[in-house]
Amino acid sequence: MATYTLTVNGKQHQVEVAPDTPVLWVLREHLNLVGTKYGCGIAQCGACTIHLDGVAVRSCTLPVSAVGRRAITTIEGLSETGDHPVQQAWLEHDVPQCGYCQAGQIMTAVALLQSNPDPSDEDIESVMNGNICRCGTYLRIRAAIKTAAQRMR
């Protein structure tokens, strides 16, 4: 057990956990931020995607001890009132089916648009390829990313 100070969605939190505890479980069970999902635990599905200093990472394989001073952003902290352009585009295209993968999809999409404001289909496919949607909403995700890109430019 060790104590870590984490900056999550702009707020500081102290948690006492084993150093190898993945950030995913710290968020979900110690900070009660359950929007970040568990899907595979081995960095294959993207359901657990968060931002670390703005970069999309898989929180299921990120030990809490490796975070250091970097700022964590989760789906809950993406916007104050759920109106980030990517979230809005997701609603506009009514993307979700079961919805379980969508927080991870959105977090990856936001990071994509931050580094590439005008992504081609191929850019979207290549960056989003690490996020599985078992329900098959891929076409709507692509459309929503394009809508969000337009809005954000």
Partner: protein, 736 residues
């Protein structure tokens, strides 16, 4: 306007409070029950319970209960839309809540067989229509006018002669006291204002902001986390457990074994479970429990033969070759017809086991007390789970409550509630609220798979290329894939269908569009080859068969309506421009009927840099009235992506009873770069009562895909997943 007698499920329309005393009411204080979006009107001061499906606030806000489990098929939006339509209320004044399991108030609270809308249709309409009638009568009494002089529009009652108006909220409390009408008028579908219009997912805002909605998100005071360890191989069981090391690890509460199917267990059809005997680890957090699970020392022993995929393949092939079975259907004299045929075509198709792989792994919350139990979680069959839980706990059913959470996918896996039974047993044992969580590995290797299948088709053509005889002989693990009375039964003079079953210790279950998910693809691939041999266009060839089934059907009966079948095929032909080939675009077609609906598809494949890619899928659907077109399109698109993905990439194989794929590193699911670039869906507008939609788009797309790939690559594909049978081409997407 049809007058409908309300005796059907009349209990549901009695005031909810009249029944509340009978059952067990436990307080659910769970975030997922709250409305997703604050209502425009604001919350009312008081609510009037009108019937089991709805209550109306004094400000006119309406809460509609969604009775059925939500697995991503969007019934939590579309079922309340049907109630709201007949109630005649503005959709923006509706909030939706998930109803708990309540067999006194609701019927068929089950997500399966694409039947929620079809079977709920009448009851949901009646719920809205009876409530509307009661509101009208309350207003008529208040104004002392005949009820016939009143009309409604979007939650407002109007007395035409005087021009007076009242909101639903103004009379809701009075309406609650009005006797339930004996019969009510339902709207003419032409007057629908909500049904047939796109309404967004009511949970959308909660989903995109990461609100707790799913079973895995459940948090309770004093709740412990439980995980299971099941045997590593089908055919194995626990020999001994050394729990000491695991018990000593930080945060661990207890380690023990359970038997989820003890002697005398009242087994339901939903109790499919290859591993009822389990090791359980309980502790304070998921990560700590996971560490202890890894430290477990369990000795396993072989209880029945350990099977490998080669055994399943050989076993199914042996059945096809020499298995004896009574025909499932026989018309005419198939043997003689095959003997006199000018051409006989014979092909065999196969597909592997598949896991459901809902993205949210199996989990369930249980809080078991000596005299009652509360369960909460993702379950497609809450009524059956309650029976199973009652049996293992030794509690009466009315002492057990079950609340459904939004599910991170179902696909049939959560029809089988073993995880709920296990959670209940664990909570009973540790005497604390428990959330049972499967790891992805536990989930993928637990069984209840889509069975492995094989099928051999034979077709006999006469010298003019007419199909004179057809023979289908299928085999599958725990049941074959053949639907004997489906197409082309009824369309061919001489017809023989046979279906064989291979026993196995690998457990199987319904997987999105059971049996159809294999047999449709095989059949549609085969018909493509037969049409080719007959020298006919594949659509013309099928249409000729439908003509026969329409005008001069063979045999006593068949399952489908040939006219509707032909209708979707003609529609997709027209929309896709089938008769105008485009250079570089390779096309395949298919049509299939299942879950009471008809689907025809054209798949366009282009080959770029040696990589065939689905450029577009054209899809025509006849599922009767479409309640929520945007959401319906989402379902159709999902089914298409799902069908293409699994046929192309997925497999679950075994070596000595051990699944070779345990997580998404080796189990391949379709990803972004492999999805079709475009899908366009066309619905037949025929005013017929709605039929299934969650499943029907999946089965045929496998055939259309293979038929397109055959034209694109020159290779007919007989064995799924296609990625392993296609030679010399790349099917991989770009990797991210």
């Amino acid at each position: 306007m049809a007058r409908i007698n309300t005796t059907l499920n009349r209990r549901a329309f009695l005031k909810a409070s009249a029944l509340a005393g009978g059952g067990l009411m436990l307080g659910f204080n769970w975030a997922g029950c709250a409305p997703s979006e604050p209502p425009v009107k604001g919350m009312p001061d008081t609510w009037a319970d009108i019937n089991a499906y709805l209550k109306i606030g004094n400000n006119g806000l309406v809460t509609i209960m969604s009775p059925n489990p939500e697995i991503g098929q969007n019934v939590k939006t579309s079922m309340p839309m049907i109630v709201a339509e007949e109630l005649d209320v503005d959709w923006k004044d509706v909030i939706v809540e998930q109803a708990p399991l309540d067999t006194h108030k609701f019927t068929r609270q089950l997500a399966g067989g694409s039947q929620s809308i079809r079977q709920g249709w009448r009851g949901l309409r009646l719920a809205g229509a009876t409530a509307r009638r009661m509101l009208l009568e309350a207003a008529a009494q208040r104004w002392q006018v005949p009820v016939e002089e009143l009309t409604t529009k979007a939650g407002v009652i109007r007395h035409e002669p005087s021009g007076r108006t009242l909101g639903y909220g103004d009379v809701a409390a009075d309406a609650a006291g009005i006797p339930v009408p004996e019969d009510v008028a339902l709207k003419d579908p032409r007057d629908f204002t909500i049904i047939g219009t796109t309404r967004k997912n009511v949970d959308g805002p909660a989903i995109v902001t990461g609100k707790p909605l799913f079973g895995l998100d459940t948090q309770r005071e004093g709740m412990l986390i439980a995980m299971i360890e099941h045997p590593p191989a089908f055919g194995m069981t626990i020999k001994s457990l050394d729990a000491e090391a695991a018990k000593a690890m930080p945060g661990i509460h207890d380690v023990f074994t359970i038997d989820a199917a003890p002697d005398g267990f009242d087994r339901q059809w939903s109790d499919v479970n290859a591993f009822p005997h389990l090791v359980v680890v309980v502790g304070r957090s998921t990560w700590e429990v996971l560490q202890a699970k890894r430290a477990l020392k369990v000795e396993w022993e072989v209880a029945s033969p350990l099977e490998s995929s080669a055994d399943h393949t050989a076993g199914l092939a042996r059945l096809l070759r020499e298995g004896r079975v009574e025909p499932a259907r026989r018309d005419g004299n198939p043997e003689a017809a095959f003997r006199r045929a000018a051409t006989v075509i014979e092909r065999t198709y196969s597909a592997p086991f598949l896991a459901h792989n809902t993205l949210e792994p199996m989990n369930f919350f249980a809080d078991v007390k000596p005299d009652r139990a509360e369960l909460l979680g993702p379950i497609q069959t809450p009524e059956f789970l309650r029976r199973s839980v009652a049996s293992v706990l030794g509690l009466p059913e009315d002492r057990i409550s079950i609340q459904m959470t939004r599910m991170g996918g179902g696909f049939g896996r959560r029809l089988y509630g073993n995880f709920g039974v296990e959670a209940a047993l664990i909570s009973q044992k540790v005497q604390a609220p428990v959330k049972l969580v499967y790891t992805r590995e536990d989930d993928m290797t637990q069984g209840t798979y889509r069975p492995a299948y094989q099928v051999t088709y034979r077709a006999a053509l006469d010298d003019r290329g007419r199909l004179i005889a057809f023979h289908v002989r299928g085999a599958g693990v725990h049941g074959g894939p053949v639907f004997a009375d489906r197409f082309p039964a009824g369309a061919v003079e001489h017809y023989l269908a046979e279906d064989l079953s291979l026993e196995s210790n690998v457990s199987t279950g319904a997987w999105r569009a059971p049996r159809s998910n294999f047999i449709a693809g095989a059949e549609q691939m085969f018909l493509d080859e037969v049409a080719e041999a007959a020298g006919k266009d594949p659509i013309d060839f099928r249409l000729e068969l439908f003509e026969r089934a329409m005008n001069d059907p063979v045999g006593e009966a068949h399952d489908y309506d040939a006219e509707r079948y032909a209708g979707v095929l003609r529609l997709v032909r027209e929309k896709s421009g089938w008769d105008t080939p485009r250079p570089g675009v390779h096309r395949g077609v298919s049509a299939y009927y299942c879950h009471n609906s008809y689907v025809a598809q054209v798949v366009d494949v282009v080959v770029e840099a040696n990589r065939p890619r689905v450029q577009k899928v054209w899809c025509a659907v006849d599922c009767g009235i479409v309640v929520n077109p945007g959401a319906a399109r989402n379902q159709v698109e999902g089914g298409i992506v799902d069908g293409i993905g699994h046929a192309m990439y997925s497999t679950l194989s075994f070596v000595d009873g051990v699944p070779e794929q345990k997580n998404f590193d080796r189990y391949r699911l379709i990803r972004h770069a492999e999805a079709p670039k475009e899908i366009e869906t066309f619905f037949v507008d025929n005013g017929i009562d709605p039929t299934g939609l969650g499943e029907p788009s999946l089965p045929p797309v496998i055939g259309a895909l293979a038929n397109a790939l055959a034209r694109a690559t020159g290779q007919r594909l007989y064995d799924q997943p296609f990625i392993t049978s296609l030679q010399g081409f790349a099917l991989e997407g770009t990797t991210g």
